[in-house]
Symmetry: D2
Subunit: 448 residues, 4 copies
């Protein structure tokens, strides 16, 4: 229902497909098929049993609507699903039907299906992150020397370049890619434990069946079932939370740069994109809005999952159920935010002239630190700081350029010549390590 | 999408209907119709204009799918919706079409539609709360004297009655009903301000139009537009948060009483309800699970809305968008939890014998406080406490009833006779104000 | 420890004092004294008993450090506190000492002390809110006609006045004052129930003692104990959450207006206030930073309390303990944010010239809606919107004023004269209901 | 202030010491000393300069109270701190004083000090986690075969062993140790960027100075400053959140097992530990209470940090400040919870007899699944499930043992003999892979 009430901005069709009920049922069927295959491999059921289930892998036998309706009484969708699957198998082979879901509990099939869904979703996010990375690299390269004011506490300061901003986004995205890559094997884990996590109904064959089952599904075999130990699962959510935070920061930066009074960048333009129902000239930062909104919503959803980790005994009450809708929601919002970020990184309109003129309009104050640094060796940082504090105050009060004020300040003139001033007030000379930082983010040497 | 992936346990069909896109579009149409009517009443458009729009009130003209799709570019659904409505009106009357949405901005129609949706949803919740209240009253009356152990820190203590438990749930539900009733007029408020909340395009007729518009819709007219002042809206969410917390507490209590080792109550039984895919005898507390899960999820959603209150200037960026899916989600989860609570209050199975035998099995320790109280006047609370601490320790160590231990304790025997013991160890004599508290919760005198 | 690690910006000394351990112990002593007095009034203890306790009301008898240390083993501070108080009373009167804490449980004294502390804290917040209200009223009056650009999605639009902005903050603050006033009686409630909330050790005198106890403390007598029904308590937190959200919005607005590129307002200046360790000219929005940070932190703390409402049976495990530090933290952050808001409302530096020049620098686009409105009656909103969309596009592309573009547009010229243009491009003529909205916020008629 | 108002249960002295203001100032001094040393190594300041600062490393020169007070105006503690340090250095060497804090900004010294504090805190947590691991290993070994009911949805089911429960906690703790170990190098990173992260005042020496600085402090050198890219920092918080969730689960399990009606374990007893002010026999689960309360509080604090990642441009406003108190709070609560967990793992009282008798009291229902499994090959899971559903219903209704019911059920008797029953109803025969799972958690082969 929810996607329906909202703008499609928050949609991410491929992710929604992965977490749709029909696809979930298909993943659940895959688990049950693999379980039969593992039982077969261990001699519990006769050879050929898995082959009986294989044609059902698309879950076409399952009436999603009916299963959802029955789940209200059953308490979860696995119970009516297993009933439907068993019936479908029985039509094909009575003997195999007896072993459908053998040894497993509802949570085994639901958690494992989630692992399969997450594998697809994480693959998709990685692809998208790679795209974003490529676009940000291009941006960092293209604007390596495009100067604009650095900003601190929303106050303009010394110069940076737009390439440095892009490099900083890029650098964080690289870390998120590494995190997802490193956490995926831990999270993409089979769940298989039976009623209380002992695989008791399999006698002494539990771990042998489990090993084959994991292998068939391409999932990691855990040390033991994790029905009420959710850390590997929730860890994925925390990393998506970190990623969404980075994207929110990017959206905040871009929307601030796009303010009418700043006007240094703009979201890509297209017919009908980001218009207003009242103001014809409006060009709204609609991608940034999604990235910001996602960054406001996902942290709370992560907190829900962290709080829901307190699950009772062998199988919990309430905490597990709190995950069911929350986890897909986090994936959906992450994917939506990521799609908007790619859109921005690809099509960002940049106005280097406006960047330059905004920097100049700040009366040279953005280079006051350079003057402090130039004066510090001679008079100490404190004294230089004091002089500049006064000079910048005068510049602001008189709306004069700092250079003019300083040129009229005797204790400064004894240390600085006109050519010193030329050099000091050219922002290109006050970029410090900017180039090196960009290189590092681009992977050209230095720490990662 | 999300409701689809989860069990239907979390569904609340009537609420989902209210927040569905088709119904939202109908509410948006109602706003636009009332706006034309208000313009008509103020002489801005000719008499009869509203009549032109009236046949469109069911929003049948709107292709929900297309509007949702266009919203991706537009940034919200209001822009394509207004376009569709204008076209539909134009087919009926070119002149009226020129005034569709006149003076309004996208957020006006979206926020006002939300107010209309919330009015329906709050009405529905109030009806459900009344039902729950009635069932809890019946429970409180029926089990006014049904004794079970009071429990503190999950340790059994002095006796209470099941009626007192029900009265305590009931008392909180009454407060939530009052809260919702008192907050509704504040929250069910017209939004109408135009682009930046000044109603500038209406010249000096803004407030006059606004007053009629509010009246037509049966909504409160605010002092001024509240595009970026969301407190009235978020307040509703906080109260739903409080309600869900109370229901979660009720679910926790019932699920703890329903533990195998306690067995004092059970969720209602029905064919296929709360079964297990592995354990035939299982009767799972599926209603409690939903109430607990909702109480884990809603607080985070409320936090999202509180955090999203930081909205910029006259119309915000990100914060407003973060509300779109969150508010309906809170309503849905509240309604789902409430439906389960009614189910429990109506059909709770109670086992008074088990309550009694559990109380007795605690070796009389639940009445140790009564003995302290009986001894305190003679020897001081400290001394009495010390004696009982030792005696209860012995009772536990020797698995003997406390009465037996105390009867063998000389410093106790000098103060207490056999008939004192009879009285002290009958839990019906140690209920204190229980009856009065139940009466108060039932509205029979005393503070509310 | 926490206040210590952070800047004092987050401190609010009066609130910290209220929630300090020594003051908490004094409030706890007041509960125990009033309990003796209530027992005396009901003939449980002899006349004069309360007088014995009265000299101890300052809690001077209690070694805060020792009590805190003992609480580690005891599980709460009430247990060692009652021990210390009993000892102190015993030194004065052995008989009275026997009745210290009679009938009460640890949570009774801790919750009631919290109610007493909250009464003080809420009183203090109300005083501060009144101050803020007065300052915002002055701001609304002084800048009733100070024009600046309205902003939507961070894009400049039609004009508003600074007075309207202040009125909008003021209007929300008024609502918060009403909320706190209406919720206080509900929240400032006695807790008195004994071990499991039945007042059993008082026999049939429970409610009589309770009534006197509440009266002595000036607290509301509840229908029944609320040990595990925390809604009244948490409701206070939610309202503080709403208030902090409003203050965060005010901080966001001010910090955006204070951006170097906007420069329309500035936080008050004072020697050493908001300087930078590196940039001499920096004047940082340090008050806004606190208001924003509080608005990021409090929602999560409110969520903690909402989540912790799920408390077990008659006395909970974990949930109650989760409140202990969280509630004072919410009060402290609220008070800190409020103190900064008063600072801003009192001393905000306003630059009306910059507001005007920023508005003009937007090429008249902020009045494009006025032109649409002027043209709509003649050609329909859609057509007018289309023309202006094109015209504003040209204005932006050619960096020409919109008026110039429109003057050269034939289909516009047929409808608008030069004098129409004069009127349309004077922002004072496009303020709509601004004045009335300000009046309403100031309480001069109209809906509140 | 906050630790003061609460029980000492939430305290973790060593962590509080690390995050105390005096220690923070010492870490900040270490940064400034190392910076002078790095400048010296790069020839910016003369040899011997760092030696001048070295005697100040204990931060004895800093008046913590005064610095905190001044921070209110300055906006952070770094500004008054740098002033105080500069003065102290000036007393020793005027020339060196000129280079104190050279090239750095307030956030450089504050973030780097935090990295140094976190290094200590993480070291401490790892030590504690190792202790907990050792205790849990001992528990898993000692109770490898101590049978109790497995529980699902709070309903008793097939048997598990207490060793398996301990193994499951242990297994999660091992993962948290690995996570912390793997994330530490990423998080323990130098912050050094100057005003806007370009190290501009160091000209082309920025990265060279940075490299030495990182090395001197034993911190990782980042690719670029991370003033507004907080993912590495927040990642630590998320992992602590996961850890606290696991500990909360452990506290929930233990407190449920300790319920009066279950009585299978008890928190360690000690004089005055977990007593009650009213109920002499009470033995409260006070350690579990802390672990549960921490698990309710930390998720929200993690959400605060995730939400605060949206930091503006080169240096943020509000988000950074929101971290200041939140991060230490998360460390403190984690440490407090961990301390209680060690206490429990070390001193848990176990009652194997009660475990056995509780299991038996469930009428053999906990082994119904075993019977299903035994019957399934012959009649199919569905049919077996149906028979057992009926039989367990009868067992419950007639309060007879399931074995008795089944023995009287003809369709069962044709498949099962008395000796089958003997085997089926001995819980030791229905532990499945329990032993292997414990072995794996103990590191004795199999997947980790």
């Amino acid at each position: 229902m929810h996607g329906q009430t909202a703008s499609w901005q928050f949609s991410a069709p491929a992710i929604e497909e992965i977490f749709s009920l029909p696809h979930q049922l298909a993943c659940m069927t895959r688990f049950e098929w693999a379980l039969i295959a593992a039982l077969e491999a261990n001699g519990v059921v006769p050879g050929g049993s898995a082959g009986v289930v294989e044609p059902l892998l698309d879950a076409g036998f399952a009436d999603a609507h009916a299963i959802r309706a029955e789940s209200e009484r059953a308490g979860n969708i696995a119970i009516p699903f297993v009933r439907a699957l068993t019936a479908a198998v029985r039509e094909r082979d009575e003997a195999v039907a007896r072993f459908v879901h053998f040894g497993a509990t509802s949570q085994d099939v639901l958690d494992t299906a989630l692992a399969l869904q997450m594998r697809e979703a994480l693959g998709l996010l990685q692809t998208e992150l790679a795209k974003l990375g490529t676009s940000l690299e291009a941006l960092a390269r293209a604007h390596r020397e495009t100067i604009l004011a650095g900003r601190s506490w929303l106050q303009a300061g010394p110069p940076v370049t737009l390439g440095l901003k892009a490099a900083s986004w890029l650098n964080a995205i690289r870390r998120h890619r590494e995190r997802l890559a490193s956490v995926a094997p831990r999270a993409l884990t089979l769940q298989f434990g039976g009623a209380v996590g002992t695989l008791a109904s399999l006698g002494d064959q539990g771990t042998a069946v489990s090993a084959v089952l994991a292998k068939k599904l391409g999932l990691r075999e855990p040390a033991m079932p994790w029905h009420t130990q959710r850390d590997n699962l929730v860890e994925v959510a925390t990393i998506l939370g970190l990623l969404v935070g980075t994207l929110g920061k990017m959206g905040r930066d871009i929307s601030l740069l796009m303010q009418t009074e700043v006007g240094e960048v703009a979201e890509p333009r297209a017919a009908g994109r980001g218009g207003s129902s009242t103001m014809p000239h409006k060009h709204n930062p609609i991608a940034s809005a999604v990235m910001l909104a996602a960054a406001m919503r996902v942290p709370a959803l992560v907190a829900t999952l962290l709080g829901a980790m307190v699950q009772e005994h062998e199988r919990g009450l309430g905490g597990w159920q709190a995950e069911w809708e929350t986890m897909p929601e986090i994936f959906r919002l992450t994917a939506a935010s990521l799609a908007r970020a790619i859109e921005l990184a690809d099509g960002l309109e940049v106005d280097p002239d406006r960047m330059r003129s905004n920097f100049q309009a700040n009366l040279g104050l953005g280079l006051s630190e350079a003057v402090v640094a130039a004066l510090a060796p001679a008079m100490g940082r404190d004294e230089a700081h004091r002089i500049l504090e006064r000079a910048t105050g005068e510049a602001l009060a008189q709306k004069k350029h700092l250079r003019e004020i300083l040129a009229a300040t005797p204790e400064v003139r004894v240390h600085l010549t006109e050519s010193n001033f030329d050099r000091l007030f050219d922002p290109r000379n006050y970029l410090g390590s900017t180039g090196q930082f960009i290189d590092r983010a681009l992977g050209n040497g230095g720490p990662a």
